[in-house]
Each structure stands twice: as C-alpha cells, then as structure tokens.
Symmetry: C2
Subunit: 301 residues, 2 copies
Amino acid sequence: MTISAVGVGPVTGVRAGDLFDNRKALMAANLHRFTQQGISWTKTAGADAIVLSGGYVDDEDLGDEITYTGEGGRDSLTGKQVKDQEMVRGNEAMQRSFQLGQPIRVIRGASHGSEFAPQTGYQYGGMYRVDSIWHEPSIYGPRIIRFKLVRLDDDDAWSPYEKVLQRALDGQPMVAAQRREGFVSRVVRDTRVTIAVKTMYEGRCQICSGTVPTPAGPYSEGAHIRPLGRPHDGADHLPNILCLCPNDHVSVDRGAVFLDDDLAVRNMDGQTVTQLTRRDAHSIDMESVRYHRDHIFGSAD
Amino acid sequence: MTISAVGVGPVTGVRAGDLFDNRKALMAANLHRFTQQGISWTKTAGADAIVLSGGYVDDEDLGDEITYTGEGGRDSLTGKQVKDQEMVRGNEAMQRSFQLGQPIRVIRGASHGSEFAPQTGYQYGGMYRVDSIWHEPSIYGPRIIRFKLVRLDDDDAWSPYEKVLQRALDGQPMVAAQRREGFVSRVVRDTRVTIAVKTMYEGRCQICSGTVPTPAGPYSEGAHIRPLGRPHDGADHLPNILCLCPNDHVSVDRGAVFLDDDLAVRNMDGQTVTQLTRRDAHSIDMESVRYHRDHIFGSAD
C-alpha cells in the first residue's frame, strides 16, 4: 500500500470533465483518498473531495450548485436513515474546510443520476466551495447534515497546494498576485431590502449594539435570518432581515447564536447573551426565527 | 425643467450595450442626472451612475473592472490637478454607495478612448459595484481619490428600485427570492496563505485579540495589508497578511485604522487603540504597512 499523495485543491494535469473508470482510478489520480466513502478527508487538512453517487434521494445537483448530504447513521442494508448524523469524521472535515475557506473537488459517478453525471464510471467536475451547512430531518426521521457547494470559476489558482503552503509558512513570497488568485470564501450579498435595514438602524448592530466606524460612517451588513436562495428560500423582506456588524453576521449565519421566542439572543451553551435591539417599525418574522433555530443554529454541534 | 426620475439600479427597458447620442439623451433615459458632471448622485441615495469620458489619463478600463478618478481640484482650463480632491459631493456619494452596497450604472463616452468605448456618443455598459476606494498623488502632485468598480453579472435583479424599497419599508414581502437576487457587496477571498495565517493564530484576531466562536471553532479572516490585485498588487505572502475578526478586517480594508512603525494600531483620530498581536514567526512587511497608511487609511477623510 502506498502513502496517499492526495492534497487540497486542484490536481496537476487533471481538468474538469476528465473521466475515470472506477474509484481505484480516482485514488490513483490523487483525486480521492478512499474507495468506499463519499468524503475524502484528513483530520488536520479537512475535506478535499467528495463523490456524488446517488446515495441520497434528496441530493440536488444543479451543476454549479450542489446540495450534498453528510455521512453516517444509515442502515447499511436498507439505506434508511436510522440514526442522527453527527458532526464527526467526514462531516467534521467538511465543516473544517468551510471554516478555513478551502476548496473541495467534486466527482460525479454514473449512479449519481443527474444530468451532470457521466454515462459510465466517474467524472471530475471541478472545484467547489462549501457555501453553507445546515441540518434537517431525513425522510425517515433522524437528522441529516447538509452542505451547499458552489462551483469555483478558478480551478487552477491553487495548485500545487502543499508546496506553496510550506513556502508561505517559511515566509517566502508567493508568485505575484494573479487576478484570480485564491477564491471567494465569504460573500456578503446586498438586496434593496438589506440596504433599507442598514439605513433604518444607521449601521448599528442589533445584537451587540456596537458600530464598526469607517471613514464612510458606521459599517454594517444586512443579515437574512432564514437564508435567501435554495434550499432555504427565506424571504427578502424586512421581517427576515437584521442589521448586524460583520462579527455577529457570521455568528448568525454559522449558527453560533439563535433568537428565542422573546427575541433574546442565546449562544451555543443556551445562555442569553443579550436582547435583540428592535425598532417598532421592524417586526420580526417568528417563522424565520424558528427556521433558523431548527436548521441553522448549532449546525454542527 | 422636469423633476429627475433617475434612481439607483437598472433602468427598465435599457440594456447594457444600448447607445445614446449625447448627455441630454442619457438624462432623458433616466440613466444620469446631469449633463456635465461625471458622477450622478444625490445626498441621500448616494451615487447612481458615472460617465467615463477620458477625463483622467490614469483611468483604467478593463471592461469588467474599472479604475475611476473622483471629481474636483482640477484647473478648468488646463485640466491639471491643482488641489487635493476631497471626500465631498460626488466623491462622498460614491463612498456612500460603497458603504451601503449599491450598484452604479457605468456609461462610456466616445472620448473615453478605451476599447470598450463606442465610436460616437455614449453607451450604457451595465451595473458595477464599488469594490474599493483609495487615494494617491496625481501626476501633478495633489491628491486624487480613486474608485475600483467591478461589473455585476445580475443587471436585472434590482429593478424597479424605489417601488420595491417602499414596499420593503412597509413590511411587504418581496417577490420570492431569486437565485441572483441582489448582488455581492463584500467578498472575502481566501488564498493558500490566508489559510496558513488563520491556522497560525487559531482564529484569534491580531487587533482585538478576540475570537468569533462558531460550531466549527473560532472564525477569522485573512486580511491583506496592501490589497491583492490591481492596482495595489500587494503580495500574497505571510508578511502582508493579518489574521483578523470580520469587524477588524473591515476596519483595515476601509481605512478606519492603520499600523504605525511600532505596529501600534491607531484609529482615524490618530489615537492608539491597541498593539498588534504578533507571533515571532510572523514578520510584518513594513512597506505594506506604509502603503496601507499612505493609500488606504482615511481614504475618504
């Protein structure tokens, strides 16, 4: 048995669209570490690749955007979800890649059954970032952990990863910054309504009551309580949006705090951190609050 | 004289590529408020459009990415920069659009002299976001304020702006969230080296010494002191990167704090806020620190 040379990021010589006969061939090409599991990972580096092979009926594949279900808790004979999925092993590694902002190689198998899957064997589909993590009951009841992946358009920017990381840690300069160097790991999206909310609170955070002063005045972000877009489909209206500082925006989006029914802000230990500041004209959608609590909060515990 | 119906965002019926005979025609089409000035703006709503017409030799137009020089301080006869540009009027409105995350319509005139300019008259080029603001000496000496604009790929997502804003303020739901609804106003870009820095400090902010706890552990961002990419071309290596919480990342990027030569962190009033935390293995590039101080800090004062 050989030591795996699998790393994070693109593999030199392999392009999106390349075909492979089987899981062994994927391993031999350094695209994936294992022949059985869907998630390729190590404890220190996080996840580096996933295989989509039709394991979950709920998995959604729109090409540039994928919903992927975590591992564990399924009966090996029936495929039914019999236990809650936990944030351990491959799932935890996916979370780590999300946290660090690392890319994931996506590979589709013929059995995946989407229009993007190959007729036979496996096809490398390029690099994706983990956009978000949440949890929900499976159709059988027990909880599954889900990952939304978004395609990166700069597949080549990261190669070769390990050598460059070592150079960085040695304090050596990288090659001159390229236009597409690196990739987007966090995106703040504005809509007409987030601008209205930021204006309403004059940039003051509804959680910490602080501001981030800048030469242009207080900086804040509009945060959707129930996230916009697939699969959450939160509404882009005032009752679903908070005016937050970037730190508290991250806390809400990543499920580190939640709102209780009295709009107290509570942390991962269930302790009340503060009371949400709220203008009279700004009613909060309690369905959004509950959705966030049930699906986003603690995603990962 | 009619009241201007010019708003923020796309104009119904006008598509990128549409041609107009002259400035009056742009005004009549509700694309721009004025017939002379480059920046179209109001005090409350910020800037809504700019015209590129070859006013500044340093303006750079790469199509999807534009460097635009602010207004003011030029001798009206010679065109020479005779006074520092100030963050007032149109410049301040551009800064407000940056702060709020609002789109800017870009119009190119034949006199602009780039490959993207029309042969005659004016051409609407689509919507852009203000990506960053900085300042530098003009070729004549006095300071000019510069704006980097990046093309949005979702020109249609914002129309019609005012009606929808009013609906939002009235608490009425928007149309169901579209995939491209709204647009990106802040982007956190990761490179191999930012990941190394975040790992080195275990997610603890080098400015406030705090962490943003999440289910995945402390969240932090890698911040380039001298920005990556055109026109700053900061290096993507360890001495040019700090591990910061999102709030302090915004403060550094938007010029609200600077580092002095002793690595004390100072605010817009020149007061020392704190001392930068730094590991021995993490030397800081003082040229980057000076570049940030000279070009990014207080961009706007």
